[in-house]
């Protein structure tokens, strides 16, 4: 009995000692001593643990004894595991968590680049912003022109970035270069981009210092990524003051593949009847647009995308000839364009990613210009400057390219290493139908190899180092372009970045025909940037210096003797909060640039560069009216214009006359009315769009053209002061989910 008593006593004390609670308390902090609130502290594989409070303190009691592992985790930190011997004494722990390198918190190099997408944290604009910016008129580059670093150039298409000409900024779709992104150039009228902004889910606009994965753009790159699978099967129709469109997009039942077809026809005849245009359009602009696409999710992580478009358009316009008060120039264009892009992305294992993209485009321009008398009859004058004015030519250009990028992630963090290459086959065919010009067929096999490393030293410090090598068979020359950028986190929401890079670009086709031994033109970028971003505000400040070397001079002979520089300061501010339901952004650019190129007599500020440019974009959603109101205002100081007089005795150009245009002002307004939004039973989703450019009807003069002798100058003005647009777009969801829900009620 005694034994039993002792035994049970022993048992009790054992049980008691087993059940005795040990207090474990302490603090979770960063290596710098900052508290980590909300961290989970757990005795691994037991139920016991706690969550740290706002000061990082925690405490809990446990009945466990012996050797355990204590596990500490918090969002944004590396998990900590350390052994813990639990006895009867209470334990005080000092737990230090190190920041995890993760995409949500890590710095991102933002110097020189603006990103528009919905997926990433660092984006300044969303994909929807690109579509709804008032002055953009559903042109991809329209929204980009409200960002700092770009010029308001109304007489020529393209993005004029930081003192660069329109040719110096290139567009890439799904990784590959796009030839003829814009409609064919017209005399003194800027054309639009060929591609609908609804085609893209992500846009990166780089005004300098861009990645080694891209090349052949001295000033800037616009990198577009096409949309993935649609959310459901839909048919769409659109009708507007300029045309009709329709399309069908099918999503399979497993939701892993889709295909679609779209067609649009635009004809400006009715619009031009109503609103008078300055040029006399003897062939009213008419456009056919057709596209086909398919997208297949090849695995959980793989995506195959195909997109092809066929376009045909024509127009003819007559404008007064600058060298004579009686004569006119009749310009006529027929354009065919086919573009196809096939790309595949896949993750191979945990560390590897692969991208393969290929694209083909062919563009044919049939262009005539005819000097005409007052009765619109052809007029032949065999003396300068008139003799070269009439021409008839066919220009065909093809581009076939293949690009591949292999990406390997390094370590456990975000560091990665990329390597890849591209092969581009350019084939041009220029044929004049007259007798004295030469038929030329330049072809170029252009190859590039590149490598790039993203190195995350900590969450707060990252560097991107790249190298790109290019070779052109036509020029028989090669180049090596280093790129470097780094970013450092300043405070919780701010970051500073630096970027440096060397960029090469082939001289223009026509220049290479005249002198095939030209070298690559070259630009070096130096950029410093600060960005502060909270959920509701974005502030960016950027300053840059850019040096141009080996620019093409056309006089006294075709050479690489040109040069130039550009420097400036830019500001971007976006605020979604201060005014309720109003979202606005403001950008300002100061630019100081001069260059000596083409036939410039010396270092001059080019005629496409204004010193000060500013834009304000405002968006307001009026829930009550189901309407989104978008307004924008762009301003630029006057741009210089020149008359280069040729002195035949000394065989040089001199500045015969110069001046500055009036400042540029443009206020745009667009209203999007969504009458069916939120209506469960509606089978169609309707959007009405009304937009006006230059609401205040301000006078705009972009540049001045001079007569051959310099005695007469004529302002380059838009084809019409204002452009009005009214359209209705309906998409019909073939998906019946909503019906099912309703019938269940």
């Amino acid at each position: 009995m005694k034994f039993l008593l002792i035994c049970s006593f022993l048992c009790f004390t054992m049980v008691n000692s087993l059940n005795a609670q040990t207090l474990i308390k302490g603090k979770v902090r960063t290596p710098k001593g900052k508290p980590v609130p909300g961290a989970s502290i757990a005795l691994k594989d037991s139920y016991d643990g706690a969550t740290s409070d706002s000061l990082g303190n925690f405490e809990f009691e446990t009945t466990e004894k012996g050797a355990w592992l204590i596990q500490v985790s918090a969002i944004g930190f590396k998990q900590l595991e350390q052994p813990l011997e639990i006895g009867n004494q209470s334990i005080t722990l000092d737990l230090v968590l190190r920041e995890a390198v993760d995409e949500l918190k890590a710095v991102v190099v933002t110097a020189g680049s603006f990103e528009a997408s919905d997926a990433k944290r660092t984006t300044v604009l969303s994909a929807m912003d690109v579509v709804t910016t008032a002055s953009a008129n559903a042109d991809v580059t329209g929204a980009i022109r409200t960002l700092p670093g770009t010029q308001q150039v109304g007489e020529k298409e393209g993005l004029f970035v930081r003192g660069g000409s329109g040719e110096e900024a290139r567009v890439f779709i799904d990784g590959t270069l796009v030839n003829n992104f814009f409609y064919t150039s017209l005399p003194d009228i800027a054309t639009r981009g060929r591609f609908s902004p609804f085609l893209f889910k992500g846009t990166v606009f780089s005004s300098g210092g861009y990645s080694a994965l891209y090349g052949q753009a001295l000033s800037g790159a616009l990198i577009l990524e096409t949309i993935d699978l649609p959310e459901k099967t839909t048919a769409s129709i659109g009708i507007s003051t300029v045309g009709l469109s329709g399309g069908y997009q099918h999503l399979n039942e497993k939701k892993n593949a889709s295909w679609g077809l779209n067609y649009g026809y635009t004809n400006l005849l009715p619009y031009f009847e109503l609103f008078k245009q300055r040029p006399d359009y003897f062939r009213v602009p008419a456009f056919h647009y057709g596209d086909a696409n398919f997208r297949v999710k090849t695995s959980k992580t793989g995506m195959l995308k195909f997109y092809a478009t066929f376009q045909q358009n024509e127009l003819g316009l007559r404008q007064p000839d600058i060298d004579s008060s009686a004569l006119k120039n009749a310009f006529s264009l027929t354009n065919y364009n086919v573009y196809a892009n096939l790309s595949w992305k896949e993750r191979l294992g945990k560390k590897w990613k692969i991208y393969i993209g290929t694209s083909y485009s062919t563009n044919k321009d049939d262009i005539q210009n005819q000097l005409e008398d007052p009765d619109n009859k052809a007029s032949q004058i065999e003396e300068p400057p008139f003799v070269t004015k009439s021409f008839d030519m066919v220009s065909k250009s093809d581009l076939l390219q293949v690009k591949t990028v292999i990406d390997r992630s390094l370590g456990t963090g975000l560091s990665a290493w990329r390597i890849g290459g591209e092969w581009l086959y350019f084939s041009d065919n220029l044929r004049y139908r007259d007798t004295f010009s030469v038929h030329t067929k330049p072809q170029d096999q252009f190859k590039a190899a590149f490598t790039e490393a993203d190195i995350y030293i900590t969450n707060d410090l990252a560097a991107k180092i790249g190298l790109r090598a290019e070779q052109s068979s036509l020029m028989d020359r090669a180049n090596l372009a280093p790129r470097f950028s780094m970013a450092y986190k300043v405070g919780l929401k701010g970051q500073a970045s630096l970027a440096y890079g060397v960029f090469y670009q082939k001289p223009e086709r026509n220049q290479l025909i005249i002198n095939p031994s030209l070298q690559f033109t070259k630009a070096s970028h130096y950029i410093a940037n600060y960005q502060l971003m909270t959920g509701d505000y974005t502030l960016r400040l950027e300053t840059f210096y850019k040096e141009y070397e080996d620019l093409v001079k056309t006089h006294p002979k075709m050479s690489n003797n040109g040069r130039g520089y550009a420097k400036g300061i830019e500001l971007f501010w976006r605020d979604k909060k201060t005014v309720k339901n109003v979202d606005y952004w403001f950008s300002y650019s100061y630019l100081d640039t001069k260059r000596d190129y083409l036939n410039y007599p010396g270092m001059l500020q080019p005629n496409f560069a204004a010193n000060h440019t500013a834009s304000l974009v405002v968006k307001k959603f009026m829930t009550k009216w189901k309407m989104q109101v978008n307004a924008s205002y762009s301003f630029a100081t006057g741009r210089p214009y020149y008359y280069f007089a040729y002195d035949p005795n000394r065989e040089v150009y001199t500045v015969g006359a110069q001046g500055k245009t009036m400042p540029y002002n443009n206020m745009g307004l667009s209203l999007n009315y969504l009458p069916t939004i939120g209506k469960d039973k509606a089978k169609a989703f309707t959007v009405w769009v009304f937009s006006v450019t230059n609401v205040l009807n301000q006078k705009q003069i972009f540049n001045y053209n001079y007569s051959y002798d310099g005695r007469n100058k004529l302002g380059v003005r838009p084809a019409a002061n204002q452009f009005f647009f009214l359209g209705c777009f309906i998409s019909i969801g073939v998906d019946r989910t909503q019906d099912i829900i309703n019938s269940n009620l």
Partner: protein, 213 residues
């Protein structure tokens, strides 16, 4: 003598065995009881961590992961600093995916959590995200209904979404009320598979319904 000692050992032994199997249930029940008060007290994350500890200790139970995900997404939905919402939502998504792995696939209750995660992500920037996450949120509710037509939570959530949607967009109190009413009817007849399976939502549905009148 020896026999009684053996008996005692047997008793204490079986008692501790019983305690072991009961521990999981007791711990779960205790925390499930805290669910309702955790939101007003701002203790959702604490509770989420608490469920996660059970989840990692048990390894083969999907419910602790499910509740951890539920608490985490509730924390995401109630977080005022929208810059943190995505991180919380991501954590919730990882937890619910683990729950689904253990449960051998998605079920009506896990789809409900997926829908809530999409809604949390939507709330960060409704204007640019509604096309993607609005659709995905309602798709998951539909999936939840198809997986279990007696589950009241998809109806309650749809009613709640409608409650917060402006009338102009097809929401509002009028649109919310019938859904909430239906959910309460369903709550009354809903039988959870065990006392640890989810039952939450009724009092919240009743509260929203009272606000509709």
């Amino acid at each position: 003598m020896k026999r009684s000692a053996f008996l005692l050992m047997l008793i204490t032994g079986s008692f501790s065995l019983f305690a072991q199997s009961d521990k999981y249930k007791q711990a779960m029940l205790q925390r499930i009881a805290e669910l309702e008060s955790a939101v007003p007290e701002g203790k959702m994350l604490t509770l989420a961590n608490s469920f996660e500890r059970i989840a990692t200790a048990e390894k083969d139970q999907w419910l602790p992961y499910y509740y951890a995900a539920y608490c985490q997404v509730m924390a995401a939905l109630t977080e005022k600093d929208k810059s943190k919402t995505d991180q919380l939502a991501e954590k919730a998504e990882n937890l619910i995916k683990t729950a689904e792995q253990i449960a051998g696939g998605g079920n009506s209750e896990t789809y409900v959590i997926h829908s809530m995660i999409a809604t949390a992500r939507l709330s960060v920037d409704p204007q640019s995200r509604w096309m993607l996450y609005g659709q995905s949120s309602s798709d998951y509710l539909e999936k939840a209904r198809q997986a279990d037509s007696t589950n009241p939570r998809p109806y309650y959530l749809e009613g709640q979404y409608k409650f917060f949607t402006p009338e102009e967009f097809g929401g509002g109190k009028k649109a919310a009320a019938p859904l909430l009413e239906k959910s309460i009817e369903m709550f009354d007849s809903f039988k959870a598979a065990s006392e640890l399976h989810p039952t939450w939502g009724k009092s919240a549905a009743a509260w929203f319904l009272s606000q509709c009148k």
